[in-house]
């Protein structure tokens, strides 16, 4: 167990280091002079030299990377040019709506995907299964922003059930403002949840202990609910965590559709303002979230499922 833990954490650390290297180069790959690009054509040469120095861009590359590394590890992400404020502070202000949106989207994906998977697995290749499969193919094929617009058109503009733009906090506010965005974000994921859970349920249903449960006369639903589903929970959890990156990418577009002031819209503003410090920090944050989520899922799985931690390779 301990050696599995150590190996898994070491892997995550290596990947995080890779992320640091990759994001470090964002500002250095900008063709021409990033400082000139940020300040615009009107900046004086002295001004450019001053800003270069302030950013440490006049130092050797390796020094710069060392500085970036030590600053990042200590939680200093530098100062945003465009907004003239610490990057970390601004990200903190915009974090809430995005986290709420991703969490709500995941919740909806589970609430939609799991029941459909169970129904489909009860009668594989029956008409219900086929219908659900076609529906999931369709929902996976829909662009999230387009689905968002359609939801806004029907449930916002025509029926008037939900607002089509803006964000407010608190449970009530989130339910009111984020239901449509979370649905647009989570529907594609629900297709993934449904597909994976269905095939893992079908696999489990063929195992001997399920046959034993069935031969004792337990009904289908009890077999699935009490015996099969328990074995498939980890699978579902893994799907959710490996798709965090997919959801994070989705929030950029969905926040734009519904005018939600989260990190996604912050990223777009930063791209428009060429705020490379901010882009760097946001890319690092997004990558780190993915790495930590998959690490957490693997560790939870190791604790719950002895087959994983004993299977050491």
């Amino acid at each position: 167990m301990l050696s599995y833990l150590i190996r898994r954490v070491a892997l995550a650390v290596i990947v995080l280091f890779g992320l640091l290297v990759a994001t470090f180069f964002i500002i250095h790959l900008v063709p021409g002079d990033p400082v000139r690009a940020v300040l615009g054509g009107a900046a004086s040469p002295q001004e450019i030299v001053r800003v270069r120095h302030q950013l440490g861009l006049d130092r050797p590359l390796l020094d710069q990377f060392g500085l970036y590394l030590s600053n990042t590890v200590q939680g200093h992400f530098g100062t945003s040019f465009a907004l003239a404020a610490p990057v970390g502070q601004i990200i903190g202000q915009r974090l809430g709506p995005s986290v709420a949106l991703i969490g709500y989207g995941m919740l909806l994906a589970v609430l939609i995907g799991v029941p459909l998977a169970i129904v489909a697995a009860l009668r594989p290749h029956g008409w219900v299964d086929t219908t659900i499969r076609v529906l999931t193919t369709v929902s996976f094929a829909m662009p999230a922003f387009w689905l968002g617009l359609m939801l806004a058109l029907i449930f916002g503009l025509k029926l008037g059930w939900f607002p089509v733009a803006g964000y407010s906090g608190g449970i009530g506010g989130i339910l009111r403002t984020l239901t449509l965005p979370a649905l647009a974000l989570g529907l594609a994921l629900s297709a993934v949840v449904m597909r994976t859970l269905r095939s893992s349920l079908l696999e489990v249903l063929q195992s001997e202990y399920i046959e034993a449960a069935r031969s004792r006369g337990f009904r289908d639903l009890r077999v699935i609910g009490k015996h099969a589903l328990r074995n498939s929970v980890m699978n579902t959890l893994t799907i959710l965590t490996v798709n965090i990156g997919f959801l994070i990418g989705g929030t950029v577009v969905i926040e734009q559709v519904f005018q939600i002031p989260g990190l996604g819209s912050l990223l777009l503003e930063s791209v428009q303002k060429r705020d490379y410090q901010m882009i760097q920090a946001l890319a690092l944050l997004a990558g780190t979230a993915v790495v930590l989520a998959s690490l957490a899922a693997d560790l939870v799985q190791a604790v719950l499922d002895p087959r994983v931690r004993l299977a050491g390779r």
């Binding site: 892997l11 290596i14 990947v15 890779g18 992320l19 990759a22 994001t23 964002i26 790959l29 900008v30 063709p31 499969r133 193919t137 369709v138 996976f140 094929a141 829909m142 662009p143 999230a144 922003f145 387009w146 617009l149 359609m150 806004a152 058109l153 503009l157 025509k158 594609a188 994921l189 297709a191 993934v192 597909r195 994976t196 095939s199 799907i239 490996v242 798709n243 965090i244 990156g245 997919f246 994070i248 990418g249 989705g250 950029v252 577009v253 734009q256 559709v257 990223l267 777009l268 930063s270 791209v271 490379y276 882009i279 946001l282 890319a283 997004a286 990558g287 993915v290 790495v291 998959s294």
Partner: protein, 296 residues
């Protein structure tokens, strides 16, 4: 792993390549859903390819006397706020988007399969290094990475052409590597060593054709993911710049008039959905067929 990995319901290692004649029979024997999916894709690719010939109007042909006219026989998808024919614009956008999708899907597939095959065959340090690079690439949320690249090179198709392949090869490398680990222990691969074939011959003539199969199945989903990404970026204004239209940018144009002129945003989106359904049916069909083949 990503959303699409899971959707692809990864098949196990494939059986050795079929002979040419059996391959033909395999195509004819494809399940119905695969045929329907392939049909949809062929129609859409042809529509894109022939856009300049079949589009009834130019993509930026203004007609200020006919703004926001609803879909009809003269304007299948209606017109937008400057009287441009949405159907013609959609065809041209489809042409551009599908061309980009092919370019960002298949070259990375080739690179990824080769890298994965080499890593899986040789193992050791090279494999460990490649596997960590792959992990890092996949850890980056795709959308964020491409946007970061666009922030560097500026808005336009160029960002997509650079940003997507940076990550896309890694998914195929992971898939090919895990297949290769199983494949290299199989009899026919062990035989290549026993027969004294060179490693090059063993890898390229005997292993890679078998690895390609899973990657090609996966690529049907990858195309959907890339088209969705492309549409999303165009919607955000980070894709092709005017006068060129992309499916996503036409949808964005229609957002403001969703209630009064629903067709501008809705109908191009349906074309994207249609492509996804076609690719999904094809992918499902061929992976099902493969599973059946193995059971026989």
């Amino acid at each position: 792993m990503s959303a699409v990995d899971v959707l692809a319901e990864q098949p196990g290692p494939a059986a050795p390549v079929l002979e040419r004649r059996r391959r033909f029979r395999a195509i004819r024997g494809l399940p119905l859903e695969a045929k329907i999916g392939a049909g949809i894709l062929v129609v859409l690719f042809l529509a894109g390819l022939l856009a300049p010939l079949i589009a009834p109007y130019g993509q930026n042909q203004l007609d200020l006397a006919n703004i926001f006219s609803a879909p009809s026989s003269t304007h299948l998808f209606g017109t937008d706020g400057t009287g441009r024919d949405v159907f013609s614009r959609t065809l041209y956008a489809l042409r551009l988007d599908l061309a980009v999708v092919l370019v960002v899907t298949y070259p990375p597939l080739v690179v990824g399969v080769l890298v994965g095959a080499l890593a899986g065959y040789f193992g050791g340090l090279v494999d460990a290094v490649i596997a960590r690079i792959v992990d890092t690439m996949i850890a980056f949320p795709f959308m964020i990475l491409v946007i970061a690249v666009i922030a560097i090179v500026g808005p336009g198709i160029k960002g997509v052409l650079i940003g997507v392949p940076i990550v896309a090869w890694a998914l195929y490398a992971r898939l090919a590597r895990s297949e290769m680990l199983v494949l290299r222990e199989q009899q026919f691969m062990l035989a290549t060593t026993a027969l004294g074939y060179s490693k090059t011959r063993a890898i390229f003539r005997h292993a890679v054709p078998n690895l390609l199969r899973a990657s090609l199945i996966y690529s049907t989903l990858d195309m959907v993911v890339n088209l969705l990404l492309l549409a999303g970026l165009a919607y955000l204004g980070l894709g092709a710049q005017p006068p060129n239209a992309e499916l996503g940018s036409i949808i964005a144009d229609g957002q403001g008039t969703l209630l009064s002129a629903w067709w501008v945003a809705t109908l191009p989106g349906l074309i994207i959905v249609l492509f996804g359904i076609g690719a999904g049916l094809l992918g499902d069909g061929i992976s099902d067929g493969q599973l059946r083949g193995r059971l026989q």
